[in-house]
């Protein structure tokens, strides 16, 4: 690029305050975003990250302070103002309209912003297709008519993400905010995304990342901004900080990188799986699980690990093979079977598969044990339910004033604990945790790991399915690596290095 990039910052955020009923979410945040830079916004759940993004992208007005976009002061931005100013936000849901074509998703937003949101007008379809093609090619997607006409709902997730970025390019975005963009991507897709964004940055576009994955932040490079309790606690080149320092800045306390695993598995075999199979998903899966053992299972997205987890929980049952619980053969065809045999399952997608978000914490905790709470007349023993829920809230350190609050009022880490608490209520024999710390901040991770270790000590057999390698190494006794639906190898976690496991994981092509 021989274009001189202006030295003044693209966006300045000055003294922003935001209060919600009872919560001072942002306390005087002042930041400056230069052009063609990459920023990482880090902080625990509830530190004000999402609020800050909403204010920058025009979804919410600040209570105090101002936004200066390219030298122009704004007390607040509307959604259209932000778009017109070149601020594009790619939320986790990507904000794509599934029922519209790729071309429409890419090009219509810019068209709308360019005409101040006026709807009573026709549009130039050829110009739209040209602009969509240019933007799609810029992110490495095909720009041809067939792809442009594809409906977004027919695309895989990683492609949708690129479509969302293409939309930002088509709208002449100067600042692209990405909210946890890599959560559901495979490593290869993440690498690809990083390549696309690095390219974008070379064109003078500023990228603001919000992520929980510190490793990725280091891989991408750029500046880091750490928020804690609604205030900026650090800002600077990411290379100036170690991972431990950043974690400490985020949480305000020192976190160890050491193994959490304290106990050792017992001798008694609780779960014995032999030759489990489900057509096209996994085959010939055999393993044993002892009381108090934590067994890790990992693999790439297509390895069958997710499908195995769902099979053990009865969501999509295995079609062949044998499962023994405490030496007795059991059949698990439905989630209700699993619950009856006291096998608990904490799904990966807690929002869609696990929690009743608008229902009180109490109701969420007791769902698995409603039969046991029934009184003689078939009603639910309210007092016992309350007591039980309160015990679990205290036990798992769920941050809430009372059990009547809806689950959606909790942060991600606390929601996850509610889900674990539901299974503790039935005193499980086996607990299957599927990605228990996805989208959870470091502080909450620490608490969840400690809870897991305590439960193992109490004799619960646990299966931890995850793609977070440090998590597996820190918590498990053994780790099974799955490839193409089969168990490829088994490791003892205490003698394994992360780099070795990572290499084994990626050697899938061989």
């Amino acid at each position: 690029m021989n274009q001189a990039v202006p030295a003044d910052p693209f966006l300045q955020v000055v003294g922003i305050h935001k209060r919600f009923t009872g919560v001072h979410a942002l306390r005087g945040v002042t930041l400056s975003f230069g052009r063609g830079q990459i920023y990482h916004l880090l902080g625990e759940n509830g530190c004000g990250k999402s609020t800050l993004i909403k204010i920058i992208s025009g979804a919410q007005p600040p209570d105090e302070g101002e936004l200066i976009v390219e030298g122009t002061r704004h007390a607040r931005l509307g959604a259209l103002d932000a778009l017109a100013a070149g601020i594009e936000t790619v939320y986790q849901d990507l904000s794509l309209l599934p029922n519209l074509s790729v071309a429409e998703n890419v090009a219509l937003t810019g068209e709308l912003a360019a005409h101040a949101g006026r709807l009573a007008r026709t549009f130039d379809r050829r110009a739209l297709a040209r602009s969509a093609a240019r933007a799609l090619e810029a992110v490495g997607l095909p720009g041809d008519a067939a792809f442009q006409a594809t409906l977004v709902e027919q695309l895989p997730l990683a492609t949708r993400q690129l479509v969302a970025i293409a939309r930002a390019i088509a709208s002449e975005a100067k600042l692209v905010i990405m909210d946890e963009p890599t959560t559901s991507l495979t490593q290869k897709e993440v690498d690809n995304l990083i390549a696309v964004l690095t390219n974008l940055r070379a064109q003078g576009v500023t990228v603001l990342f919000v992520s929980h994955k510190l490793d990725e932040c280091y891989a991408i490079g750029g500046e880091v901004i750490v928020l804690r309790d609604g205030q900026t606690v650090a800002q600077g080149p990411i290379g100036d900080f170690t991972k431990a320092q950043i974690s400490e800045l985020m949480t305000g306390r020192r976190l160890s990188n050491e193994r959490y695993r304290e106990g050792a598995p017992g001798d008694e075999i609780v779960l014995d799986a032999r030759g489990l199979a489900r057509a096209g998903q996994f085959a010939d899966v055999s393993f044993t699980l002892a009381a108090g053992e934590i067994l890790g299972i990992t693999g790439l997205l297509d390895s069958g690990r997710n499908e195995l987890a769902r099979a053990l929980a009865g969501v999509a049952p295995a079609q062949a093979g044998e499962l023994r619980l405490d030496g007795r053969p059991v059949t698990i065809e439905t989630p209700a079977d699993a619950t009856r045999h006291r096998i608990g399952y904490v799904p990966e997608d807690r929002l869609n598969e696990g929690l009743f978000l608008d229902k009180p914490i109490r109701d969420n905790v007791i769902t698995a044990m409603i039969p046991a709470l029934r009184t003689r007349f078939g009603r639910i023993d309210r007092a016992r339910a309350d007591r039980l829920a309160r015990d679990i809230v205290r036990d798992l350190q769920i941050a809430t004033p009372d059990v009547e609050r809806p689950v959606q009022s909790l942060s991600g880490g606390n929601q996850q604990r509610v889900l674990i608490g539901r299974w503790l209520a039935i005193e499980p024999r086996v607990l299957i945790l599927h990605g228990p710390t996805v989208g959870v901040d470091v502080g909450s991770k620490d608490i969840i790991y400690r809870i897991m270790q305590r439960l193992a000590k109490a004799g619960i057999a646990m299966i931890l399915i995850s793609d977070d390698l440090p998590e597996l190494l820190q918590n498990c006794d053994r780790i099974l690596l799955m490839k193409k639906g089969r168990i490829a190898s088994s490791y003892r976690a205490d003698q394994l290095h992360e780099a070795d496991l990572y290499r084994a994981l990626l050697s899938e092509a061989a």
Partner: protein, 357 residues
């Protein structure tokens, strides 16, 4: 200190971005597959049903294949088509409207009564415009309520359905007119085209069929060629996302319900002039028939989809069932059974395709 002078624009429009060196993540776009294509164009299912039905009926009763039948079908489909086009727009926007029949009944009866009493010689064009305006007004009430209350449009329009109908029967009247204003009567009799059949009967294609054509073209144009139309589908895809992307939901809500109201008002006036009768008890009760036709035309009840062509095909299918089964001796009570069965099949196919697509 923030700079007070706006910085020069970074670069003019049309920024060229060199393609990055990326791993091939280009998606495999599923092509071919009969099932995939059927999922994208569910109206082919309707076409198949129509063809099958015509073939069967024609084989049993060869008199089916003549222009007179087509004229009759078009005649009886006009009102339903206008309703269906409005319903299509509402469904595409992710809502549902069941009050359109009440809007049509209220406007047609009130305007007919008013014109007959005060200005029997009013020109038809003016009556039609009055019907459209009345429909827009009542539709806008729906739009404002849906937008303001943030309530499900089904609930709101069930409410207004009763409200409009109650208002009509309580304050305007309950007796029906056999005498309608001259201009309406004249319009109803006006042929666009006619010929004598072999039996010596006069087969007439009424001029009101033009309304169907105009409404279909206009709706197609609005939905596919204007930003408003794209906004309607955007809102039907996801209300929250459309708002975040800067679509003006208030404007879209008002447009959607106002437009549906307008088509309903016009349909009401045409209904009176076609039947030479203004009956306040007419129309209401046929909402589900209309919605069924639109669904058979491939629109999803969950919103965000649907085409004008599909909708017209859906109407054609329902009209066929209601009018020609009689020709081959199927008792009229069986019509409902057949429509119900078709809807079940179409609905099952739709979900089945979505799951497997």
């Amino acid at each position: 200190m923030p700079p007070t002078v706006p910085s020069p624009p970074l670069e003019p429009a049309g920024r060229r971005v060199a393609p990055p060196v990326v791993n091939a993540v280009a998606p495999q776009v599923r092509s071919g597959g009969v099932r995939a294509r059927l999922a994208r164009h569910p109206e082919w299912f309707t076409v198949a049903l129509i063809v099958a039905m015509c073939a069967i009926v024609g084989a049993i009763n060869p008199r089916f294949f003549q222009f007179a039948t087509l004229f009759d079908l078009l005649h009886s489909a006009t009102t339903v088509s206008l309703f269906a086009l409005g319903t299509l727009v509402v469904l595409a926007s992710g809502g549902i409207d069941v009050s359109f029949t009440a809007i049509a009944a209220l406007t047609m009866y009130t305007i007919t009564k008013f014109v007959f009493a005060w200005w029997p010689d009013a020109p038809f064009a003016l009556i039609l415009v009055a019907g459209a305006a009345g429909g827009v007004l009542l539709g806008l009430v729906n739009g404002v309520l849906v937008h303001r209350l943030k309530a499900p449009s089904l609930i709101v329009t069930i409410g207004t359905l009763y409200l409009y109908r109650g208002f009509l029967l309580t304050f305007v009247g309950t007796t029906f007119f056999m005498n309608i204003p001259h201009s309406m009567d004249g319009f109803g009799r006006m042929p666009l085209f006619f010929y004598r059949t072999v039996d010596g009967l006069r087969a007439v294609l009424p001029v009101s069929v033009l309304a169907l054509v105009i409404a279909a073209v206009l709706t197609w144009w609005l939905l596919n060629r204007t930003m408003m139309g794209r906004g309607v589908y955007a809102m039907g895809g996801s209300l929250a996302i459309a708002e975040r992307l800067g679509y003006n939901l208030r404007a879209i809500h008002l447009f959607v319900f106002g437009y549906t109201g307008m088509l309903a008002g016009i349909a009401g006036i045409l209904h009176v002039s076609n039947n030479r009768l203004a009956n306040p008890f007419d129309l209401v009760g046929s909402e589900l028939d209309v919605i069924a036709a639109v669904i058979l035309g491939g629109a999803r009840i969950t919103g965000g989809t649907g085409t004008v062509v599909g909708t017209l095909l859906g109407v054609a299918l329902v009209t066929l069932i209601n009018n020609v089964l009689i020709l081959v001796g199927v008792p009229s009570t069986w019509q409902k059974v057949i429509i119900g069965a078709f809807i079940l099949v179409a609905g099952t196919l739709q979900t089945w395709q979505r799951r497997n697509a």
